[in-house]
Amino acid sequence: MNEQQRDYVLRTVEERGIRLVRLWFTDVLGNLKSFAISPAEMENALNDGMSFDGSSIDGYSRVQESDVLAIPDANTFEVLPWVDAKGAEARVFCDIARLDGTPFDGDPRQVLRRNLESARKKGYSFYIAPDIEYFYFAPPVAGQQPVLLDEGGFFDLTSTDIASSLRKETIRTLETMSIPVEYSFHEDAPSQHEIDLRHTDALAMADSVMTFRFVVKEIAALHNVHATFMPKPLENIQGSGMHLHLSLFTGEDNAFHSADDPYNLSPTAKHFMAGLLRHAAEITAVTNQTVNSYKRLVPGFEAPVHISWARNNRSGLVRVPIPKRQNESATRLEYRSPDPACNPYLAFSVILAAGMRGIEEQYELPTEADANLFEMDDEMLAKLGIAQLPQSLSEALTVMEGSSLVAEALGDHIFEWFLRNKRDEWRDYKTHISQFELGRYLRST
């Protein structure tokens, strides 16, 4: 780390009277983890990292070596915008390393770093802009249906007022934390909101998504509201997705852009897209990692079901948005299946790996599917060669298990742990008797 950068952090801690520095990192499932150190320990942490017992962190555990190092990434040091009476706090994202300083292969941030580095060796930097959807509910009661803000007279203010003021406060907070917002609006579903972030390189964006989820929940909680990124909380209402706008840059140039193509897509963009499509089923367990994720990926709610691409067809998996104006840097692909409950580090890693494979092996892009796929029957889809995304977590895991691409992108440690953990989740789900079954079979059979 550069000397000045370290000084900058230490001086800021001193000048701003920082009381606690929170070291942030992420477990394999994408949960934000944190431990706090005093300002006096910060210099030490920047120099040598802070060791802690990783065995309590999901996906970190290894029998022999449970101690790992959290090494602050000084670039991400940021004073937290909420101050309590006792003084200001700051946070810094950490890379996790083994005690000898080598990257710890259970750390999702290191996994993304590794994948970005291999793209960088080929001359590409990977940029992402996510559109993140989520719901506001009344604070949940275990075992009960979520209560929408516009129901039940929960608030004195009308629900639109409270929700839009929550959203405004959230955006203001995000912007003071180096996360510029492009767009925000109330989604179609009641109590659903969408905030679109401006594109950054994938590592910064994965950090931003972690910060985003934290800030949205935190600010909602301050107002006694529950924010959730659960992919499909309500049965007959569209779920929450995290569409990802993807582009590769070589230096200042957008490698996806070509002025000669009718869709402004370069051969690189087409190969990348072909890679995404060919490996989509394999990476779905990572981009959609919960049992509940697959209840979003059903026809009728603008969520993708089929593995196809199109310029204007929102039922496809990959959409090619028409850039505003003649803006070269805005040429991009929109990958529509991921949901906001994923681990962004791992999701970005497998997406990049799939796209890069397409570029390396010069995959041929299938023809565009511009008809509405939801209206076609299976036979017609088969004739067009259009497959479906996995229909359940179990199916997705089976496809993932056979994927050398995903194993390589995630590394063996995370690949194996993830499969094991998610198989358990599926087993738990399978033993559950649902309302659907009781309603359908209790009396009729």
Binding site: R16, S125, G251, E252
Partner: protein
């Protein structure tokens, strides 16, 4: 200044330059490159440098850059350029403190050197950068806008510092990358745009236009002193 040492480029130093420095009582050593300057640097550092850019401007500027781009930059750098090279000075303000035209008049060079050392010795070195409501304290790394503390990450701070030190000037992304990030950057050239957006967001909507986008060129901070 009796025992401090100046680095002089090129090596060997032109005879008239050597004579002027000797007569004015400076101790100096000729260096041919940044590497050589680093190797033969006295333990207490170079007291300053005189860099003659007129014959080999590329190596001259490279030397200036290597003297400045390090943990403790060399203060008091005087560059010498000829009349056709004046444009080279633009956008390199951070690489020198004073300049002198060649062919030079020995009395002029002497006067400029004296003045350069006077300002630095009296501690007149600017530790605050101010523009409008923006204040950057270069010593404590703190920044504020309209009296409110501004919480910036290190790279945001460095970028804002560079821009605010050069108000009214247009910088391309490449220039900003090389001057602020020094080529070691992770996110590719779009990194500049990302950081500009973050700065605008932190300055707040009403001040976001403090940093303007100059179409197909780059960015400009504030107004030039000369255009107000």
């Amino acid at each position: 200044m009796a025992d401090s040492l100046l680095a002089v480029f090129p090596s060997p130093a032109p005879i008239d330059l050597a004579r002027t420095l000797d007569l004015a009582g400076y101790r100096w050593k000729a260096v041919a490159s940044g590497a050589e300057a680093a190797k033969s640097e006295p333990t207490d550092g170079w007291a300053g440098a005189v860099v003659m850019c007129d014959d080999d401007p590329e190596s001259g500027w490279a030397l200036c850059r290597s003297l400045r781009k390090r943990d403790v930059p060399v203060q008091r750098v005087l560059v010498m350029v000829n009349g056709t090279q004046l444009a080279d000075l633009e956008m390199r303000d951070n690489l020198f403190d004073e300049f002198c035209l060649t062919p030079f008049h020995p009395r002029e060079l002497e006067a400029r050197l004296r003045h350069l050392f006077w300002t630095q010795l009296t501690g007149k070195h600017e530790m605050l950068v101010e523009y409008g409501g923006l204040v950057l304290n270069l010593e404590t790394y703190q920044s504020s806008f309209g009296g409110q503390a501004l919480d910036l990450t290190y790279m945001e701070y460095e970028l804002l510092k560079f821009l605010a030190q050069n108000p009214g000037k247009v910088f391309s992304r490449e220039i900003l990358l090389s001057r602020v990030w020094g080529y070691e950057y992770f996110g590719g050239a779009r990194t500049v745009d990302v950081h500009i957006r973050r700065l605008r967001a932190k300055l707040g909507e009403e001040h976001a236009n403090l940093i303007q986008t100059v179409r197909s060129v780059g960015y400009r901070f504030g107004q030039s002193k000369w255009s107000v």
